[in-house]
Amino acid sequence: MDTKPFISVRDLSIGYGDRVVQEKLSFDIRQNDIFFIIGGSGCGKTTLLKHMIGLIAPSKGEVLYNGVNLYEADPETRLSLLKSWGITYQSGALFSSMTLAENVALPLQIYTDLSERQIAETVAYKLALVGLAGYESFYPAEISGGMHKRAGLARAIALDPQLLFFDEPSAGLDPISSLRLDQLIIQVCEALGSTAIIVSHELPSILSIGTNCIVLDAQTKTMLDSGDPKELLHHSQQEKVRQFLSRAGTA
């Protein structure tokens, strides 16, 4: 595994306006990591993700992608970075006026020169990959919540991204679907050589597929620990972290 940091977060402060949610965040993410951002509810996991994907500018610190600061990059570099990412949101964030096929086809139509037929084939494959073959002409309003998430993933992987961001991918899914999604994330990342950054507090997922993580704390407003979640489970210096992760063992 490549040990050179793929993403570097340096002394990052995150929040909304004057309200600081987390501060002094510094960590590295290596290529091909399945990296989890974990912590209790309201500790700022999704907020950190929003800062990393460029939705909210940090009040302090920087996020470097292969040495490029997203917030200081020129528009062309920024766009090429955004094109190399796939992002899935908590609710799927599908465009309700488009069919599933049109949702998945959108990034292909905008960013590639593929023919209509190639786009149709790619869409059919991506939807099949997430178990939605045959649902091409369905609208988001006609499918279940779990299907929303899978369709959102199909759209996120449409361009074979180098970097995949997931915001609570397993939330609201049954255990079988959740397990299948975990497997899918691993297989997609392995096959495409992608790195995954996942916001979650689903401990079974964290311990089964995570290769690296940071643990955020709402009280101290900073990260408690970082490393391989399986290591942290038994050997973290922070008792809070061990307690947080050990619930998985008892659950």
């Binding site: 309700s96 084939e121 059919a124 988001p140 309003a141 392995e190």
Partner: protein, 397 residues
Amino acid sequence: MFTINSYPSKIKTIAHAQKIRMNVLPFRFEPAAPTAGTNTHVNLFLCGDWRLGSAPEGAALYDEIPDNCTAITLDTTELEQWDSSLMIGLLQLARRCEEEQITLDTSSAPESLQQLLNLAISIPPYQPPAQKPPLPLAERIHKGALAHWQTFAHSLMFIGDISLACNNWVRGKADTRRQDLVFFIDQAGPRALPIVTLIALLVGMILAYLGSVQLRQLGAQIYIADLVAVGMVREMGALMIAVIMAGRTGAAYAAQLGTMQVNEEIDALKTMGISTIEFLVLPRLLALVLIMPILCIYADVVGIIGGALIATSMDVNLLQYILQTQGAITWSDIFAGLIKSVCFGILIAIAGCQAGINCGRNSDAVGMAATNAVVRAIVYLVIADAAFNVLFDHVNI
């Protein structure tokens, strides 16, 4: 639409065959055992790079399956870089092989490639239910009429529910919060004053100009005051306020309630045993019923001022204009305008709230609800205004 099955299955152009011969395409079929005589078992050699944009179309793989083939073994020893484009081709090849009962052996492929392929083919494609034959014309008319009747019945039920909620409110038993009522009065009243002022002033001026064109020819400019006063107080004041409220407040009600429907907030209220009509609809309706007559009087006054601005520029003395206005309008005119404004308020609230409560569960539906609210409210307003004018004429108001 994006369905791969809709493409012709065997398209072999000369150019395509040439590419195969020239080894331009990154795959080739070769007999597994050249000496066997019949090529029923073939090896599929994948070679070079398979990248989105440069790889051949997915259908190219199965288009080249040799005739009488019964088994295909995948060979990836010459394969270099690959991405989804290879999987797209292999998925279609796998499905074609299944249809034509050809054995596809992928065991020698990289494990990640096999995993992705298995993942894609493990769940069979969704089969949409067979389309029903079109209904006979009579049945379609019957269904259409039934749907309209149901919509009408739902509207009547909604009005009935509001009546019951009003009854509960009068008896002090409704789930209506006072702070909600105050909030909606503030939203519909004081916050609407700038737009009401502008529109009423301009309508008054328009009425004055309209009258002046005819009245000046007769040297009767002074009657501009009568025209503006009666026009604003009896008709335009209430109607213009209602149109503004339909676009501003009625649409807002539909969007608010529609978003609550999307976020399941209305479901939460129902399961808490709280009446959605009393909690959500009643404060909005009462706010409009209370605020519309006040806004109507305000609009009448501003409209008359607008008329005065024009009239005084046409040799009409301001004092004359005021005295003429006083003589022109009667209490019954004011009463007629106020009655209309209250009724218009009720209609706008019903149109907005009904559209919001019956909204679907996605963002499109919220937009549609807001549109429906405005369109319905304006239709209701015009019908009600016409009905009021006929009624007032009959009772000599």
